[in-house]
Amino acid sequence: MTTCALWGLETALVSVEADVSNGLPSFSIVGLPDTAVSEARERARAAIRNSGFEFPLRRIVVNLAPAERRKEGTGFDLAIGLAILRASEQLNADVDGLCLGELSLDGTIRPVRGVMPRVLRARDAGIERAYLPAENAPEAAALGCDAFPLRTLRAAVEHLDGRVRLAPAPTPPPATDPVWDVDLGDIAGQDTPKRALEIAAAGGHNLLFIGPPGTGKTMLARAMPSILPPLEPDELLMASAIHSVAGLTDPERPLLAARPFRAPHHTASRLALVGGGVPPRPGEVSLAHSGTLFLDEIAEFPAGVLETLREPLEEGAITISRAGAAATYPARFTLVAAQNPCPCGRFGDVEAQCSCLPDAIARYRSRISDPLLDRIDMRVAVPRIPYRELRERVQRESSATVRARVRHARDRMRARLAGSGRRCNAEMTKRQVEQHCQLDRAGEQMMSAAISARRISARGYHRLLRVSRTIADLAEGDDISADHLALALLLRGHT
């Protein structure tokens, strides 16, 4: 039997063989971590008995190879059960596919996490068929695999021996365009914040909205998915695989229909946000991979949790280490955050007066540490707009129009960065920035004026150029002009 091990997103095919010989009755499993063995043994024994088979009262050794791999326990149950039945000749056919599933004591087969990356691994090895829990079958079918949906161990044997033939799960229909929560056309005014959102969507730059409550910060951020470019095929597989490992796959639509948009609440635990546990599960930062991580009311997140964002923001990945074992998950997301300007929320509000003392405001703002703030490319005020403007029924630019510009700009980036493993301007290395961010003459003049006046820090310089490059791409410009640089400077909001 072939099954597949999973650790983080790392996968390895594992072959499972059972040997049943005469001798004192015993049952051992070789090649699983100690903790997992006893539980797997109990499940296999009970499931076989309760499925109407006989559990051989002989000497049984099940061998999982290779042995040295770190493995998660439960996905191997089905392969172990079938291997014992085959060795004791209660199953007559050879099993020619990937076996995944957890056995419950009564012989039913329960779903497991992380089917998608394991099926992908099997596919790479030329295995095109899989025997899986019924709940997981659509995940495998979506990847083009012949996926046989199993509900019980008995049904598996009946099918394999050709007595009751099961049909492979149908390929789920391709995802249709999702219906977006918020369309940019629904939002009145806020031209600069919308522009910043478009730039963030196109180039993957991090963005912070600041404004009093009720000015539309959350609404703006929620419009982000509606203007993001579609996932590229390899991004789609990776993002869907991460969701599969987290057990968040939608059986109706195993492949994601759009770039992920994750909005964890500020009460979410550190584990939920960055991932962890044994075996390690991906957190929100990884679920947001290739998409957006939205932190609403960012100042309410515990400081320690925010600090853990620095690693993924810098590396595009996060390493979770617990109990001596580490797993790395991708975590390259665009950060969109929203914050009130002060504890009472009224600072700078034309319609209200702030009641906060300066020290309290400074403390509130410093909850976003300087190193984190440094990684935020755009810091944009979201002001209260007049009621009259809110009510105005005018034709505003829709998300579809903006999205077309974003796609076009992203295509330019992809072509420019082809072969470098980078996809958008925010991901450019410093060398790529030097290479691809040519300023025109007026732009050059503005840049050198800004540098000599110390309006740009050494660290801010490359970030500023990346954002300028995206603004130029949205305007289909080859060189970065003074206008593009001016907007990037305005949006940056600090040195």
Binding site: G189, Q190, D191, T192, L208, F209, I210, G211, P341, F347, G348, Q353, C354, S355, C356, L357, P358, D359, A362, R365, R379, V380, A381, V382, P383, M446, A449, A450, A453, R455, A482, D483, L485, A486, L487, L489, L490, R492, G493, H494
Partner: protein, 285 residues
Amino acid sequence: MIKLSPRDPEYPPRLRRLARPPDPLWVWGQLPDPQDPTVGIVGTRRLTQYGQRIARELAMALARAGAVVVSGLAQGVDSVAHSAALEAAGRTIAVLGEGLAYYDEHGAARRRQLAMRIRKQGALISEWALDVRGIEWTYPRRNLTLAALSDALIVVEAPEGSGALITADRMRRDIRRPVFIVPGPLGASTWEGSNRYIAEGKGTLLASAQQVASYLGLTVAAMPRASGNGAGERLLALLASGPADADTITAGLGLDGPKATTLIAEQVIAGAIAPTPDGRFARVR
């Protein structure tokens, strides 16, 4: 830290005119030459951004002109005035309502740095024993000392009931030196005390730093303004009453987006305006 009594030659002569001069007076740092004119700058802790800009502008201009800026080292107007005087390479005195050692140990961490700089370019002083903590009745007496040390007093922004107005009353009644009041927008609670004070004729409406400088026998340098171009001037005028976001600036100037963007960027580079931590833009001068 040194301890001075009114009989000591280094004792600030202005304090000797009080019925009961502080005795002893604790001094930490260097007291400026008593010949130099002094100006008290006080106001609310809960200051608006407009108040912040005006406090800063006045303190810088007067310190640069040679006046010693006297204030109380609280958050808000006091801190802005001290910092601006230091930034202008001027001198400043902080009059505390608690003992110097108590302040050093328990004072807000955010102002410890400021206190240290004040000791280098001026002094912290207190009439309270080193370990006295500031309580309700130490501050009114401190306010009298602050007024006595000042040749003129400026109230930048004061709501009703503000300690700054108590200081102004002492200045007016006990010290009999002028009080200048910066007027504020009607309807803004943090200016209600200031505006009433002007309305009741208790203080002089302050319209420029030179007004105070003239009284002190000083001349303030002309304020540097953004270079000639008209849109730049209009931008500064627009931001005179407080910071604004990019869209408000664009609409207020009646410019198209790219023109306004370029203007804002140019003025940021020129140092006339600066981004605020809440993503807007404020006048720097």
